[in-house]
């Protein structure tokens, strides 16, 4: 195929880059962090492991966002909600793992003791089970996305209207989670985690294990997304993006196509959120702020929509810049982000990938 959409998973170059990435994540990083002594110039510190782990979580979200925006043409401005719901679902388990080691030395999480709650509310049922919470990580964002998508797509809500509704959805959820009565720690959220699967969470080994699992999830997400978009399903999605009506008149029920990719994307975001929380050590309703979800769209736009690898790079570049800025000139980060977005929109409509493609 010289024109149209690729049918191959990856060419030799793609696989080579992926292999290099694996070597870096599963080989170089663990050695430089765990084996190389801390006073060596080659040592990679915990700061970097956490930062890169966090950025990989964002990259997973960016790939998931590209599936709905870049391929199906659905611009979600609420993907931060699915990420946060995954984070909260797994955060409950991490809170339970604190046991009686909290400030108040009580078996219940500190914020519940503080509120003088004697029993766990229903949302916390079975939350001391790892597998239960791991299941919630998938089911909660997935179910919400499915129900929301079912009504939105069936009523043919699209374009900017859909974007605004998703934005409202995440905003409403944020307000809900800010309330103490909701049972998720109010504006403080969850923090002070101690253990995961009864293993202390702050050791270099646990940190590196979480880092590696995140790396594996990122690769898995990328391959899954690539497989989807190179299948006939992916070609139908791109057709829906370009001419939905024509697709319907070809006999495809486009609601199901959109619903499938939308729900899958939300689930992937939930998983990313669950990986994010133990590494960063905190989850609070701020993750559901409208600005957070807009930022996700910016990563994808910067990297290049509809390329999968572009958004992954975009998430890395923007968040790399963000960690630099928020340390060096904290007040200016939002201006810088806005500027990046404007510059990319004006001069790199295809994002970084479009730029690289043109240079070749």
């Amino acid at each position: 195929m010289t024109g149209g959409i690729s049918r191959r998973l990856y060419g030799p170059r793609g696989w080579a880059i992926l292999a290099l990435f694996c070597v870096a994540v599963f080989g170089v990083m663990p050695v430089l962090n765990l084996a190389v002594p801390a006073d060596s110039p080659f040592h990679v510190s915990a700061y970097w492991v956490t930062l890169l782990g966090k950025i990989m979580c964002y990259a997973i979200v960016a790939v998931a966002m590209d599936l709905v925006w870049g391929y199906a043409g659905i611009l979600s401005l609420g993907h931060g909600l699915f990420f946060a719901l995954g984070g909260y679902s797994f955060g409950m388990y991490l809170m339970r793992q604190i046991g009686s080691d909290g400030q108040y030395r009580q078996p219940m999480p500190d914020f519940m003791v503080f509120l003088d709650w004697k029993e766990f509310p229903w949302q916390w049922w079975n939350s001391d089970s790892f597998w239960w919470c791991a299941m919630l990580v998938i089911v909660v964002p997935g179910l919400l996305a499915y129900v929301f998508g079912y009504f939105a797509f069936r009523s043919r809500v699209k374009g900017v209207y859909l974007s605004i509704i998703t934005q409202a959805l995440t905003f409403a959820a944020m307000l809900l989670f800010f309330r103490n009565a909701t049972g998720f720690g109010g504006n403080n959220g969850f923090t002070d985690f101690r253990r995961i699967l009864d293993i202390p969470i702050a050791t270099p080994q646990t940190r590196m294990a979480l880092f590696a699992i995140t790396g594996a999830t990122l690769i898995g997400t990328l391959l899954l997304a690539r497989w989807l978009t190179t299948s006939r399903f992916g070609r139908v999605l791109a057709a829906i993006r370009d001419a939905e009506q024509r697709v319907m008149f070809c006999g495809y029920d486009t609601v199901h196509y959109k619903l499938f990719v939308w729900t899958l994307s939300a689930v992937i975001c939930g998983v990313a959120g669950a990986l994010y929380v133990p590494q960063v050590g905190i989850i609070n309703p701020g993750e559901m702020s409208p600005a957070n979800s807009i930022e996700i769209a910016i990563w994808v736009a910067v990297g290049g929509r509809g390329t999968l690898i572009g958004p992954l790079i975009g998430a890395g570049l923007v968040n790399g810049a963000k960690s630099y800025f928020t340390q060096a000139f904290p007040e200016y980060w939002l201006f810088a982000l806005g500027l990046i977005f404007i510059l990319v929109t004006l001069f790199l409509p295809q994002g970084v990938m479009g730029f690289l493609g043109k240079k070749k």
């Binding site: 024109g3 319907m248 008149f249 495809y252």
Partner: protein, 271 residues
Amino acid sequence: MSISATTATGEGGSLGRVAREGLDSTHGVVLYMEDISVSFDGFKALNKLSLSIDIGELRCVIGPNGAGKTTMMDVITGKTRPDEGTVYFGQTIDLTRLSEAQISTAGIGRKFQKPTIFEHHSVFENLELSMKADKRVRKTLFSSLSSAQKDSIAETLKTIRLNDSADRVAGLLSHGQKQWLEIGMLLMQEPRLLLLDEPVAGMSDDETERTGELFLSLAGKHSLVVVEHDMAFVEKIARKITVLHEGGVLAEGSMSEVQNDPKVIEVYLGR
């Protein structure tokens, strides 16, 4: 031509069910519209329109701009729901209850007035996506092209004279080629009834001529409804003509009958 006139069979699922019932055309009628009215904000785009198309017929529909020709196609294909009236595909399939996708699966293909193809897909992919197949999500995830399907795409490519452009991005085709590609997409759907809204607009004389030949070759095996402004084209292919005016049928008959109808002369041809 690889196009067969047989009804879709064997496609399972909710969409397939419509097709599996098959088209009951025992009375020789493929499409039956009665007393269809559609209004937009009080304006009657269709006003008690009644029309029936026989199996294998090639019907031309003419009429001044705004007569309601496109709206009629919208009603047949489920894009617009009529305020009143009935639309039956064959004897049994009530089109007003089906979605666009179900209507397509049942065997009605449509070419839009403005060519709508998938501009970022290759010509080949455009045909692949419109090909008759099980179009449910879980099937398209794992589907690959059988050699029979590849052959049928190759044949359609030949029919629409785009076999040298199979791998080109469809957006780069000329206007006439896009029109042909959209016709090819219809053929891949293997529909019983083809609705063609101004199919030769923007085509060269040569392309128009070949389109006419193609339509004539399709008639018989398929039923066709062609909306056209180009009277020379209509004259060449028409057996029976329906003249629409202000949302209703003004006249119906052969070219000469219609041309000599005083009402038609007054509102349309005579001007």
